[in-house]
């Protein structure tokens, strides 16, 4: 029997499929329509049509952060050949503020999974300074780890994820 690791990010395989193990050091609050996202909660596509409110912690307004939102289960968790699908990329977010104060490098595209139950992951990084981030040419096959390395973002400072499946019908069945 495999030992239980109580970190939902590990149990949900976000750490493993998207990120390496890290220590959370910042507050990250993602809310859709005043509903805070907690790890593994289920949201419908209709609830995530518009970009969420994202507030981050920290103390120093001069510390800038990058937020990445990806779907590692695109197009389907049993065959995620588009892993990871980039839904949103916001940079230069000052600590204590939120995404509305940052630069939207890749605009928000709402998740619309057609097959299976997808994990949608938000990852927050601390930037070395204010920097220009070059948005990738396309959303699919994004790699958060490589991206972080490319821009010297270091390990994540926070992450949260939710589950999302097709609005109607059984999300998991494929015939």
């Amino acid at each position: 029997m495999m030992p239980r690791d109580r970190d939902p990010l590990v149990v949900g395989r976000v750490i493993g499929d998207v990120l390496d193990s890290f220590t959370k050091s910042m507050d990250l609050t993602v809310s859709y329509n005043n509903m805070e996202v907690t790890n593994g909660c289920e949201l419908k596509p209709s609830q995530v049509v518009n970009k969420p409110r994202v507030d981050i912690g920290g103390e120093d307004l001069r510390a800038f952060h990058t937020l990445v939102m990806v779907d590692p289960d695109a197009p389907s968790p049993s065959d995620p050949n588009l892993r990871e699908y980039l839904h949103w990329l916001v940079t230069d977010i000052p600590a204590t503020t939120g995404t509305r104060f940052g630069q939207e490098a890749v605009c928000y595209e709402s998740p619309r999974p057609s097959m299976g139950i997808h994990r949608i992951v938000f990852v927050l990084f601390r930037q070395l300074g204010r920097q220009t981030v070059y948005a990738p040419g396309w959303r699919q096959n994004f790699n958060t780890k490589d991206f972080a390395e490319l821009y010297n973002l270091g390990p994540p400072v926070a992450a949260v994820y939710f589950n999302c499946q097709r609005e109607s019908g059984i999300g998991g069945r494929r015939r």
Binding site: L9, N141, G172
Partner: protein, 149 residues
């Protein structure tokens, strides 16, 4: 199909939820490189269809591949390459993901509950303190008519 079932019943350790990629079961010669990105980008049908049909790769969905009727396999056929095996492994992975989802949600809720209980206790304490410090203030109100004007 009975012999194959017996084979699977006899093999232990396959119910481990850590094995999320059924390619791990293939012989080392056919195993894709250790780089996880390449692993995920290459469709699983690559290895199987090249072994079975010797024809150009079938597109996309491995479920649409025709069953290997013309393959002169020795009897009984290799269990790893049949449709039944693939379905079995996909179902196992799906079940493992489902369990992981359920467990992750439960763990997160536990953490939330503990955090909320703590916060609640703290808030109650603060409220109590605030109440206690308010009462003596009212009795401090005194001089009203002794002003010099």
């Amino acid at each position: 199909m009975k012999p194959m079932d017996d084979i699977w019943n006899g093999i232990g350790g396959l119910s481990s939820p850590t094995t999320t990629n059924f390619q791990d079961f293939f012989a080392p010669a056919t195993r894709p490189p250790a780089d996880s990105t390449a692993l995920l980008l290459r469709p699983p049908s690559t290895t199987i269809s090249t072994l079975l049909t010797n024809s150009p790769l079938h597109e996309d969905d491995p479920n649409k591949r025709p069953p290997p009727r013309h393959f002169p396999a020795p009897d009984p056929p290799q269990p790893e390459y049949t449709e039944k095996f693939r379905r079995l492994m996909k179902n196992r992975e799906s079940a493992a993901r489902s369990r992981a989802r359920k467990q992750a949600r439960a763990d997160e809720l536990e953490i939330e509950v503990r955090r909320l209980l703590k916060e609640n206790a703290k808030l109650k304490r603060l409220q109590k303190q605030a109440c206690v410090s308010q009462v003596p203030k009212e009795s401090k109100l005194s001089r009203t008519k002794s002003a010099p004007f």
